[in-house]
Amino acid sequence: MPPKTMAPNDVETAHRAGRLLWDAGRLTAKALEIRRDIITLLAKAQTGHSGGPLSCADFGTALFFHELNIDPAHPTWPDRDFWHFSIGHVTPIIYSLMAERGYFPLRDLMKFRAFDGHAQGHPSAHDTPGIEVSAGSLGQGLSVCCGVAMAARIDRHPRRIYCVMGDGEQQEGQIWEAAMFAGHYRLDNLCGMIDYNRKQIDGDVEDIIGIAPLADKWRAFEWNVLECDGHDLADILRAFREARGHRGQPTVILAHTVMGRGVSFMADDYRWHGKPPKPEQAEVALQELGTSYAEWSERLMKG
């Protein structure tokens, strides 16, 4: 069985099993590549969501390249941690993280939402190796993770379970059913992460149906609540550490983020929730991210 953890310097390819435990500096660099992937694959597909994937990019990278104990070469490795994005629409970052971590070739990203590719518009276990449970209808993921956490408890397995949620998604009642369940059963192997970018499709979350005070809500549902700057890798790692150390309660991390973060003209603009950059916009975005479509798409096609 592969080792549970390994020193960062062992790792040259992302195909190794276990926790990568990358440091903040290295994660910051990888998050930049993830953002380049997101823009590039969206530019190629000309369909898909830009805003959420970019706000998830930093903590998503920390999750995959530091925190998770996984073996992308063996997605069903029995000792794996379980990760799940309840916000199925952020497939651009899900697939980018998976490809960069080694679940499948980078070139697959260039067939995002394509008829002849596996990278469906919303995560499909039937199509993509490493996706364990399909998603796309909001509010269901935390419940799925509660089931995985209960299975681990029944099996006395040390597996940790990570669930990424959206802030608009908090409006779905099922989230609170799952919250109540996990609080009741004190599922401390469960860690929820909320992409608190303050935007959803129709505008600002607080204008649509306000979710504040969000920390109070989770606390009232008997969860351990942590907050972090969702774009500061060091702060994100600190939150992960605290979550891992907390016993007797599930932990939720409110990751304060900015929708569209990393691309000037997308940042903090809800209108970028669900649309891809046009080719010329993508070029500008990729310049801001220190590359070009030609360069980065070539990297992906070769990968």
Partner: protein, 327 residues
């Protein structure tokens, strides 16, 4: 009494037993054999009879409370980790309250989740319309990857539950609330995905599921007295559908009556009609709930009032035979 062979023959006095008890007992036996079996319930342990399992295997029993959406997805998570979860609630909530979760998380992922929907049908009685689930067949049949079984009595529910555990993939089990006639025995054959020929006949075929199988068998006796021989099919598996058997019955008997304790739109009758028109069109009549909500009352009163009795099956048989003979 009837010239045709019959694998099932009813004594004048038939033993009565709850189908849901077959579910509860089977879960315990499954639990003994297979550690992967886990049972979830939404605050209805007694009435779904998963309480038997809860007592025997507390560590594999999960009380979810009144949160059916959550329960459906928790079962999905358990299945994703290799467990074989059975969830239990009333059919109205299993099929409707958690429909989106059944479609997206369970069925689209094709997870090994078993859904126990209790209190199906008008025979639920005094609780009234909200608790009388009669849309499950239409809903579940429309969702890809789902399988569905509507057993006819205690023993068949027991076997259906065992079969559901064996089948890889999501299965919806529908059962009722009341004591219903035990028409099969411990060793009556049961094959998932196949209809059972309970009685032979030449003039028409009665295809039934659930408690209506008993009414169909009684109707067959009444018809036999008038020299009419009706074949009786117990079509316990609604999905996948035994298309070959249905087509054969259409060809061999030339007329079909379906009988179900379910809404007429998209139920057993609709499922059979879809096969018949595509293979061998013959006249059909439907005995079902005619697109109306239920109401409170004693189960027997309601079965009478909603036209779900052997006499209603007989009347439908006579109508369909008239049409068959072109009169």
């Amino acid at each position: 009494m009837t010239p045709m062979t019959s694998t099932i023959s009813l004594p004048p006095q038939v033993e009565m037993k709850k189908t849901r008890e077959g579910f509860g007992r089977a879960l315990v036996d499954l639990g003994e054999r297979d550690p992967r079996i886990v049972v979830l319930v939404g605050d209805l342990s007694e009435s779904t009879m998963v309480s038997f399992f809860a007592e025997r295997f507390p560590e594999r029993f999960i009380q979810v409370g009144i949160a059916e959406q959550n329960m459906m997805c928790i079962a999905a998570g358990l299945a994703a980790m290799g467990k074989i979860p059975f969830l239990a609630t009333y059919g109205a909530f299993a099929s409707c309250r958690a429909a989106d979760q059944m479609r997206v998380t369970v069925a689209y992922t094709n997870l090994n989740v078993k859904i126990g929907g209790a209190h199906g049908g008008i025979s639920v009685g005094p609780d009234g319309a909200t608790h009388q689930a009669m849309e499950e067949i239409s809903i579940v049949r429309s969702i890809p990857n789902m399988s569905m079984i509507v057993p006819c009595d205690y023993w068949e529910t027991y076997k259906a539950t065992i079969a559901a555990a064996k089948h890889a993939g999501p299965v919806y089990l529908r059962f009722g609330r009341e004591d219903v006639p035990v028409v099969t025995s411990e060793d009556t054959p049961f094959t998932f995905g196949k209809g059972e020929v309970f009685a032979e006949g030449r003039d028409l075929t009665i295809i039934a599921c659930g408690v209506m199988v008993y009414e169909a068998l009684r109707a067959r006796e009444a018809l036999a007295e008038r020299g009419i021989t009706a074949r009786v099919i117990d079509l316990h598996t609604l999905k996948p559908l035994d298309q070959a058997l249905i087509e054969r019955c259409a060809r061999e008997t030339g007329a079909i009556v379906t009988a179900e304790e379910h809404q007429v739109n998209g139920g057993l009758g609709g499922a059979v009609a879809e096969v018949v028109v595509r293979s061998h069109p013959v006249p059909m009549e439907f005995v079902a709930v005619m697109d109306r909500f239920g109401q409170s009352g004693k189960p027997a009163e309601l079965m009478d009032a909603f036209g779900l009795r052997a006499t209603d099956v007989v009347a439908a048989a006579e109508r369909v035979l008239k049409r068959k003979s072109g009169r």
